[in-house]
Amino acid sequence: MNDFESELKKRFAELRADDETSAPSFAVVRDRATVDQSIGTRRQRLWMIPLLAAAVVAAVWVTSRARGERARREAWLRDSSMNAFRWTMPTDGLLESARQTLHTPAISASVLDAAAVPIPGTPFKGD
């Protein structure tokens, strides 16, 4: 080792001693690190809030969209050819009114008895 290296070592040793006397204590650094850590965790949690809110909004939007789609589909089925299964003949009304006026005769009764039943509001023969 030459003289300059010895001189350097001496100077660095002095600098080191000086630095060490002015060093903040480990406890201060550690405690600040712990605080920073908790702040970091809190910050991470804060980041979660908009993320969760966005997830909720997305879920609501998807649900409402699915519901609307189902309603539209049902409406289409109601108005489409599926109605053929519920089709009624235009003359069905006539049958209904006939049923109101015609009475099925009893098995033991005469067919003529049924013909003799007066129709309400109609003048009966012989009145």
Binding site: L8, L15, T21, P24, V29, A33
Partner: protein
């Protein structure tokens, strides 16, 4: 200054125990090396105390939270110095410090000639000269000289901390030493 405790991790430890260091053990080891870490953080931060404190806080946080994990491939101190170095570099980039170059550096500023300067001790003056001379070196030269002369590391260990080959560290060491000698002699002659 605190009494140096015995290292919890042997100098040559390479076992997997290092991977499973619990927090109290880590804290004890950090406390043991704290004074040295402070000196290293100061050096990496251009002797800016605020920046050095920030870097050291962040480095400790990374170690204690497990963000930086010691894998036992080197000495704990070398690994820790590497973490501090990278953290300080990030802090420096953020603060945009160490803008001085060798040619621009005014070493006379290190030796205060104003009134009241006589109060400053000769040792403090010598320290200021050394710090200013170190600032005139390239970052690699500064790092290797700091690690070898200040922290008593070997060139191999310094190379590991700096993340360069031993040959490269040796080159920076030789050139840095010559440059530092020139700077210090220049100031001493004045």
């Amino acid at each position: 200054m605190s009494v140096m405790a015995q290292p919890l991790i042997p100098e040559t430890q390479r076992s997997s125990d290092a991977l499973t260091m619990d927090r109290p053990k880590l804290e004890r080891e950090l406390e043991r090396l704290h004074a040295e870490c402070w000196g290293w953080a100061l050096s990496c931060s251009g002797h800016d105390r605020t920046l050095a404190e920030d870097a050291l806080h962040t480095a400790y946080l990374r170690v204690l939270s497990g963000q930086a994990r010691f894998d036992g491939r080197s000495r704990f101190k070398s690994w820790l110095f590497g973490v501090i170095r990278l953290t300080a570099m990030e802090e420096l980039r953020r603060a945009n410090r160490w803008n001085t170059t060798g040619s621009e550096l005014d070493l006379s500023s290190a030796v205060d000639s104003s009134a009241g300067a006589d109060v400053i001790s000769e040792q403090a003056e010598r320290n200021a000269v050394l710090v200013a001379a170190m600032a005139s070196l390239s970052p690699r030269q500064r790092e290797v000289l700091q690690l070898v002369f200040y922290h008593g590391m070997t060139l191999e260990e310094a190379a590991r901390v700096m993340g360069v080959s031993v040959g490269s560290a040796r080159t920076h060491y030789d050139r840095g030493k010559k440059a530092l000698a020139g700077q210090i002699n220049e100031v001493d002659v004045r």
